[in-house]
């Protein structure tokens, strides 16, 4: 078993990469790897409640994210500053997250076998 950290910087819908990264997350979880996610920059938008992907003919990204704990993926971290810059609070998000400052992220990232940034 290896530990994976996915650093998600892209918003959903405008670019399919955010969705395809979730496919990678689920694949790693399906192979019983230890998976954590860190959302920063525009990646924090992926966690927003009440998304309506169908309005742009897309699957609802928020629904996919909120199902992550069903696949044993529940270690979610978010950059505090990215949230503040975008006027978001933890209550606006679809799952419980741990807010991190840069020093907190630096400490977090050291502990993983594989870190992938998107």
């Amino acid at each position: 078993m290896a530990s994976f950290l996915f650093v998600c910087r892209k918003p959903p819908y405008g670019d399919s990469l955010a969705r395809e990264v979730l496919d990678m997350v689920l694949a790693a979880a399906a192979f019983e790897q230890d998976v954590s996610l860190f959302f920063t920059d525009d990646g924090v938008w992926q966690l927003l409640k009440e998304q309506h992907g169908d309005a742009v003919r897309q699957k609802n990204h928020g629904s996919i994210v909120s199902a992550l704990p069903l696949y044993d993926v529940s270690k979610l971290y978010v950059d505090r500053e990215s949230m503040k810059e975008r006027g978001l609070a933890p209550d606006d998000l679809v799952l419980p997250v741990q807010l991190l400052d840069p020093a907190g992220y630096a400490a977090l990232v050291r502990g993983f076998d594989t870190v992938m940034t998107f």
Partner: protein
Amino acid sequence: MKFSIIVLGSPYSRQSVISAYRFAEAVLDRGHSLYRVFFYHDAVHCGSALSQPPQDEMSIPEHWADLGRTHGLDLVVCIGSALKRGIVDETEADRYEKPAANLRDGFAISGLGQWVDACIESDRVVTFGA
């Protein structure tokens, strides 16, 4: 050291694809091993047999295929990303009754399990972004 590389960008749209190729060359030149190159997202187009760049530009798919042949590399195109973008091998073309197959020789279509395996088996995994 054992490396694996993940490529995400579209060839000819993103410089990162050429950066990935140059990095692969450097890894091999330095005597390290390259366990797998996994083409995901738009990078599946690197596996197209149909790409025809202008004469005075490098053929990115051909360069990857040649590097693969020379060094016995495992060049894997992700099936999920590939199918929706119209990169298919004979098996998938038959399965979905497509008029043609277009996967370049030297590439294999497979799933995200190959990427997970590459991350577990490699000392370093380097991602070249979209």
